[in-house]
C-alpha cells in the first residue's frame, strides 16, 4: 500500500468510527468552557493566546497519542510484512497534521465564541495557529511511535514530547501575541518562518529515524 492509500484508510476509519473526533471535540468544549468561567471574559491578548496554546498543546497530545494504537499485535506484524515504514510514517504525519489542524480550528472558534477576541488581524492569527498545530503534530507523531514501541505508556508520551514541544509552542505564542496587538508584519514573520522550519526539520528527522524504530 502506498502512503496515499494508507492516509485515506486512516481518515476513512476515523470518519466511520468518530470516537476520537468526538473525544477531541468534547475535550475542546469542556476545557474552553471551564476557562471562560474561570476568566470571566477578562482575558487580554496575552492571556487569551497563552490559554489557546496551552489548550492546543494538551489537545494535540491526546489526539496524537493514539496514533499507533491500532498498529499492535497481529496488525503490527501484518504491517511489518506488507508496508514500508517510510510509507507508514508519511501517512501518519499527514493524518495527524490534518487532524490537529481541524482540532486547532475548532479550539480557536470555541475560544473566540466563549471569550471573544481582544486583538486584531484574525487572518494572520489563524495562519499562525495552523502552522503551530501542524508543527505540534509532526513532533507528536514520532514520539507517539516511540511511546507505542516501548509499550503504549500514556505518561511516557507526555514526558517525551513536552520538552520537544516547547520550541513550537514558544515561537507560536510569541507570534500570536504580536499578531494580536497588531505589531508590524516584519516583527512576527521570523517566528512564523521559524515555526515552519522547525516543522520541516522534525518531519524530516522523523521520516529518517522511523524505519529504525519500526522493526523487531
Amino acid at each position: 500500500m502506498s502512503w496515499i492509500k494508507l492516509t485515506q484508510l486512516s481518515l476513512l476509519l476515523e470518519w466511520r468510527n468518530k470516537s476520537a473526533l468526538f473525544n477531541s471535540l468534547l475535550y475542546s468544549i469542556a476545557s474552553t468552557y471551564i476557562a471562560s468561567v474561570l476568566l470571566t471574559n477578562q482575558a487580554g491578548v496575552q492571556v487569551w493566546n497563552g490559554l489557546l496554546w496551552l489548550l492546543l498543546l494538551f489537545n494535540a497530545l491526546t489526539a496524537c497519542s493514539s496514533s499507533f494504537k491500532s498498529e499492535t499485535g497481529n496488525r503490527y506484524h501484518y504491517y511489518l510484512q506488507w508496508i514500508r515504514p517510510s510509507d507508514l510514517i508519511v501517512s501518519k504525519l499527514i493524518y495527524n497534521g490534518i487532524y490537529c489542524l481541524f482540532v486547532s480550528w475548532i479550539q480557536w472558534l470555541l475560544l473566540f465564541f466563549f471569550l471573544g477576541w481582544p486583538g486584531g488581524w484574525m487572518g494572520w492569527h489563524l495562519l499562525c495557529i495552523s502552522l503551530g498545530a501542524i508543527g505540534l503534530s509532526t513532533v507528536l507523531t514520532l514520539t507517539a511511535g516511540i511511546a507505542a514501541r516501548s509499550g503504549n505508556n500514556m505518561s511516557l508520551m507526555a514526558v517525551l514530547s513536552f520538552p520537544l514541544l516547547i520550541p513550537t509552542a514558544l515561537l507560536g505564542v510569541k507570534a500570536s501575541i504580536l499578531i494580536g496587538v497588531e505589531a508590524e508584519v516584519e516583527s512576527f514573520r521570523p517566528f512564523l518562518t521559524g515555526n515552519a522550519g522547525m516543522t520541516l526539520l522534525s518531519a524530516a528527522t522523523g521520516y529518517l529515524l522511523f524505519p529504525y524504530l519500526w522493526r523487531d
Binding site: I146, L160, I166, P167, L209
Partner: protein, 222 residues
C-alpha cells in the same frame, strides 16, 4: 575512545593552568560584572563540555543504529549522563552569575529556555531508558529518541535566541564577551580551559565505560 594517556594529561594540565590563571590573571574592570567576569571560564566552559558530550552521545546513537554494537549504546547513555552532570554544573554557575548581575536566579530568557529544554530532554531520555527491560529494544528506541531530540534541541538553541531579545551576552544585540575583552587577556585562559573541560568530560566518560566493561565481564564470570 581515544587511545593513550596524552589527551588526559593535556586536559589536566590545561584545567590546572585555567584554574590558577583564571583566579589570578588581570580581567577587564567593568561595572555590574566586576570580578564575577571570571565565571566565564567556568560557566561557559562547562556548557561547551556539555554540548560536546551531547554531540558525542548522538554520534554514538547514530553509530548504534547503523552497526548495532552494544558498546555504542553504553557510550551514548554514558555521554548523556556525563553531559547532564556538566549541564547541571553550568546551570548552577550560571544561576549564581545571574543573581549577581541580573538580580535573580532565573529569568524568562531564550537562552535559559534552551537550557531548560536540553536538560528536560535528557531527563526524558533516561526515563525512556528505564521504562524498558529488553536491552536491544531499549538501545534502539532510546537511540531514535536521542537523535530526534538532539536535532530539535540544537536547532532551537541556535534559532530562537537570534529571533528575540535576550539579556544573555552574544544574543539579541547584546555584545558577546569578545567585545569586553579588548586586550585579549581573557582569551589566554578562556580557550585553554574550554579544551580542558571537554577533555575532563571525555575522561569521566572513558572511566565510566571501562567500569561498565569490567562489570559486564565480572557478571559473565559468575
Amino acid at each position: 575512545m581515544i587511545k593513550g594517556a596524552w589527551w588526559k594529561l593535556t586536559s589536566a594540565v590545561l584545567l590546572l593552568y585555567g584554574l590558577i590563571a583564571g583566579f589570578s590573571f588581570d580581567v577587564p574592570r567593568l561595572p555590574i560584572l566586576n570580578e564575577s567576569i571570571r565565571n566565564l571560564y567556568f560557566h561557559v566552559g562547562m556548557w561547551f563540555a556539555m554540548m560536546a558530550l551531547f554531540l558525542g552521545s548522538s554520534i554514538y546513537s547514530l553509530r548504534y543504529l547503523r552497526k548495532g554494537a552494544v558498546e555504542d549504546d553504553q557510550k551514548a547513555s554514558g555521554a548523556a549522563s556525563v553531559g547532564m552532570l556538566f549541564g547541571i554544573l553550568g546551570l548552577l554557575t550560571g544561576m549564581l552569575w545571574a543573581k549577581f548581575t541580573w538580580g535573580a536566579f532565573w529569568v524568562n530568557d531564550p537562552k535559559l529556555n534552551g537550557t531548560a529544554i536540553s536538560l528536560l530532554v535528557y531527563l526524558a531520555y533516561f526515563v525512556l531508558r528505564q521504562s524498558m527491560d529488553n536491552p536491544t529494544q531499549k538501545a534502539r528506541i532510546s537511540a531514535v529518541y536521542n537523535l530526534f531530540a538532539f536535532a530539535i534541541m540544537i536547532t532551537f538553541i541556535q534559532v530562537l535566541p537570534r529571533l528575540t531579545d535576550s539579556l544573555h551576552p552574544g544574543n539579541g544585540g547584546n555584545p558577546a564577551f569578545s567585545n569586553y575583552d579588548l586586550d585579549s587577556t581573557m582569551r589566554l585562559v578562556f580557550y585553554p580551559i574550554i579544551i580542558g573541560w571537554i577533555g575532563l568530560g571525555y575522561w569521566i566518560l572513558d572511566l565510566r565505560q571501562r567500569w561498565k566493561e569490567i562489570n559486564t565481564k565480572l557478571d559473565d564470570n559468575e
